[in-house]
Amino acid sequence: MVPPHPLDRSRAVTAQSPSRPFFRLRKPVSRRQSILSALAIWMVFFGVWIFASATGMVNELLVPAPQQVFATTIDLFFNRGFGSDVMISIARVIGAFGMAIAVAVPLGVMMGSFPAIEAVFAPFVSAWRYLPAPSFIPILLMWFGTGEAPKLALLFIGVIFFLITLIMDHTKNVREELVETALTLGASRGTVVARVIFPAVLPDIMVAMRQMLAMAWTYLVIAEIVASTTGIGAMMMRARRFLKTDEILSGIIVIGVLGLVFDLAFAALHRRAFPYLQKK
């Protein structure tokens, strides 16, 4: 072996750290760069906000400074019982969503497994999907008054038909070979559904639930803004009457944070529940 020429070595060094263009087509960025980029866009956002409110470019009454919104949020939680509004909202989402899941999961799986069941329910379910849930608000208020029932009903109607359809479609995508394998191992139809189709589709059901939970939050806020005296949406509507823009913005931020927390929790649950989906 001839020792490498010094010139070769210098070339080897440059080969390891070549000067790459900042914008590379479809090449992933490093973790550091992605974190910095994410921070940068938010710093720009808050920078513009702070600058605009500090220099009086915008009406302070309509656009309070971010630090004021932050202080208001703290104040709402610690001195004015905003926590209980938040808990009520969370309870509504979980309650209505839980009922929707209890109906949609068994029905969707059965519809995806047995075309005879699909033939009955699919024409019904798909028609309801085209009716926007908020259009039911007036009638729900007449039927259920102003208690918890109309809010839960709106959330339920808002998500259940999409949930059923998504779960049915995912169930149909369970590979035929898995079903046939189970049949040739001596499984009955019920066993195939319970022991093969359901566990096979479960990760996809969780994904569908995660998507629909975001929608449930949307309907919750609509329900609370339209007709409620409790919950995050109701707090925001009260604040509007007293021109408390900082409180409205607090509400928006809290809803956003809650949505994010639920989404991350679902993602974490998905990783925990389905370890076999992790790549080697």
Binding site: R175, E177, L178, E180, T181, T184, L185, G186, K280
Partner: protein, 266 residues
Amino acid sequence: MIMTQVTALEIKNITKVFELGGGNRVTAVQDVNFKVEQNSICVLLGPSGCGKSTILRMMAGLEIPTKGEIAIGGRTVDGPGRDRGMVFQAYTSFDWLSVRKNVEFGMKINGIDPDERRERAERFINLVGLGKFADVYPSQLSGGMRQRVAIARTLANDPEVLLMDEPFGALDAETRWLMQELMINVAEQTNTTMVIVTHDLEEAIFLADKIVFLSSHPGRVKEEIVPEFKQGQRIADKERAVKLDGYAELESRLMRLMREEGRGVE
């Protein structure tokens, strides 16, 4: 190898017509007759479109013949059952279960008690050479290993016949040889009757005690061929099998048959 002449599976005058919709029908298989002897390896060979997979699926009870019947141990097949285990070309491992639980699956749903289940699972996991991987998930395994899981799962369920539909078609050449040698071993050690569908000549010659060659459009039995050069023995070493007198002749004979059929299609 014990070559008894007891019939395990009898295919009697089978015809299968598929309705394609719009009033179109296609006859996939026509008037097919043959027998599979107990403890033998029967290979269904033929060009694509000869209906060999359809015949296998009818044996499994996953398709119902339009005419004729299939009998296993004298009983007519009228649907899938644990007496006819099937291994598919596509991977069928249950991804949410460990290798061990996969192999135990059939026994579990058939109510075999846990002790016996564990013992049999252990035995068949070792038989297919997955002893070290009993507690990993199938997604962590290579394609060949996943097919081993499927084979162990089917055998552990104690079927009378093992049906395999191009089981090694998705594997690379080297893995395929290993799997073919494994099947010879499994057949010798478990005395399982096997029906294997393939379009791979080498695989057919190496594995078969009897080759049923099918012509295409519609599928008919063209010839039943016993690889005489093996002299009633199974050869577990592929390299040795290829060098035996008579191997080359059989291969070129099958090639000729394939080519004749191929021409018919063009």
